[in-house]
Symmetry: C2
Subunit: 389 residues, 2 copies
């Protein structure tokens, strides 16, 4: 019974993962296809006699190199081929050097060279720029150098290096072709969509906040949709990885090669700052002691609602401007302006406030909410500026 129910659990989880992003199923099949093609190559040895045992390097390459996005696959293939070439050349050099030292000196020299190069290369992996662009390449460099330097002792070294390189290139090219031409998943497109969706999520929350007037939407059925801003807070790592991969991709769709992907990271940083403010706002809305009927609240409600709804509209327009890749319309400036003037209005109400106020705590919460909304307005302006760039 427990086995049966956990099987059902598992099936449900599987269905959910597939439904969340159907490209995952396609990706899995693409990997299966690439692997089958390459292993058939290895299987029918007579046709490709040159590769022999080294054919397994093609399989290894496919397994390790095939990533979910085109950019990931290209970056890993490129890293792998380059590192293999450089390391192969150095390995042959090391073997040649070791050979000069006679049969007894050879293992000593090889051991020293392997130690020194592996130590140095491992250390370079701690450089942030290396880690970002070619961590995998360094790994392959160490591997290939060691293998070539060590095996030179008994195998015909040039043949080995040539074999490895050609099979790796066959594996890499198979991956690249399948990943580019069979239902490609572009990291750039994903990054683009992610940023636009994140902005939309914030707009959605602010819109509902304006509608409900200082009160949380906990009772609302749409809760999960409104809580979308929480995922915005944690999307920084994904954005960075996608931007790294997108850098490798050729032009596709409406993007040309060398699209300014870094700009998306800038926008993303502003968006996540805005999400931080929205989180604070949501925290206050959930524990709100503000009574919508009270005098204080009525005074301040209008500018707050305006700030919230105008910011939401500006964000929506910005998201659609990103989506259509068009220059943002002038409406956005209008929304930002009216949000700003609402902020000024708020401050003037505060100055001329008819005091004393009956409820200190309520006043405080109102002021905090308003000040967060003012911060959000500023953030929206920054997002708009960074999109204009």
């Amino acid at each position: 019974m427990t086995l049966w129910s956990s099987l059902i659990e598992f099936a449900k989880a599987t269905k959910k993962i597939g439904e969340d992003d159907p490209r995952r199923i396609v990706h899995s099949m693409k990997v299966g296809l690439a692997l089958t093609l390459v292993s058939l190559l290895y299987y029918f040895r007579p046709l490709y006699d040159g590769f022999g045992q080294a054919g397994m390097w093609a399989i290894l390459t496919v397994v390790v190199v095939f990533e979910f996005t085109v950019g990931g696959t290209l970056s890993k293939s490129f890293n792998r081929s380059c590192a293999t070439m450089v390391a192969g050349a150095l390995g042959i050099g090391a073997e040649y050097l070791a050979n000069l030292c006679g049969e007894r000196g050879e293992p000593v020299i090889v051991a020293i060279l392997v130690f020194v190069l592996a130590t140095m290369a491992t250390f370079t992996r701690f450089y942030p720029s290396v880690k970002r662009k070619c961590d995998y390449g360094v790994l392959i460099f160490i591997l290939t150098f060691t293998l070539v330097a060590v095996s030179g002792f008994r195998a015909e070294i040039l043949r080995l290096a040539h074999q490895r390189l050609s099979t790796i290139i066959i594996g890499g090219i198979t991956c690249m072709i399948i990943s580019i031409f069979v239902y490609p998943v572009w990291a750039g497109q994903d990054l683009h969509d992610l940023v636009a969706t994140n902005i939309e999520k914030l707009a959605l929350y602010l819109e509902s906040f304006a509608g409900e007037g200082f009160h949380s939407s906990v009772e609302n059925n749409d809760n999960s949709r409104l809580q979308g801003y929480k995922s915005v807070l944690n999307s920084k790592a994904t954005e960075e990885a996608l931007a790294n991969f997108a850098w490798w991709e050729p032009g596709h769709g409406s993007f040309r090669f060398n699209h300014p992907w870094k700009q998306y990271l800038k926008i993303g940083a502003h968006v996540s700052e805005c999400a931080c403010h929205v989180k604070a706002l949501d925290g206050y809305a959930a524990s709100s002691k503000i009574k919508p009927a009270s005098e204080t609240c009525k005074n301040f409600q209008k500018p707050c609602t305006t700030m919230s709804s105008e910011s939401a509209r500006a964000l929506k327009d910005l998201a659609s401007a990103i989506k259509t890749l068009k220059s943002p319309s002038s409406d956005i400036q209008i929304h930002i302006q009216s949000s700003k003037s609402a902020a000024n209005e708020f401050e003037s109400i505060l100055k001329n406030m008819s005091l004393p106020q009956p409820d200190g705590q309520e006043l405080m919460q109102l002021l905090v909410v308003a000040s967060i909304l003012i911060d959000i307005t500023k953030c929206v302006e920054q997002i708009s500026d960074s999109i204009h760039e």
Copy 2:
């Protein structure tokens, strides 16, 4: 000249990376050592005739498996060995099945099996739990299964599987021994220190905030030390990775096997929430319009300063309680209580405020700062609770 200056740049960057964490240099040398040992094994073939060409799997294992922390190395070694065993067995089964179908059916069956298993295994990598604990194992599973199933056609399959497994185990054991016994870097210890340091960073900021009375420390020389809270905001990913690795580690130092590492993630979540509030506080402090001499400010200064300094003291005590692995002292509760009573005091001042206030903007900022401080007080209590557990 530019070459020379960029060389100097590079040397400086290298020095900084080494100084930031000298264990990086040691780690690089450990990798070099492991690799040299294993390649010597491969080099002196006569001694270990059983391994032959498969010796290169040992080199491959060392390069791929050796991670910075003990937990990382153990997790990868374990993943690799298990996956190789399971996949090897399945591969032999597949090959046996294919053999039954005669010479012409064999490649078809092998191709189908490879496609199906690779597709399914790739899909499992999207499950969050698989991704966390054994992403690498699945990769190796696909690789080994394909290699064994395909090469069965011409090599003596059992010998191949046995060779691969034994060389992988040799490589894995070399990594494990060196990583555990030569200047070990424990992921658990790192996680422990990270959480304690993060709490200390927050305490440091709050302490200086209390000292400077509502004004930013931008002019302060110690600026970089106070800005430490920013790194706290982004340490979630590191904490999760370390907790995953720590799970694999045997008892070490003052930690036994199965130390409640997950609890650290809980504490970390509260700490990062607290850092979010501190960030907001710092934002207000930087653009502060609060005049320390004004009447309004004088009224509110005392409770705010108390909240800030008492929270800082509580955090400091908590950090040192974590560091010494002792149960938190009762002082912490006292600090939290006095911080809470300062919050109450603030609210009563607000209620009995002599109105009207001369400067609306100043009042607003004061209230916002105080409300953030109240949030921080709550957060500190949560942190303390989660440490007690």
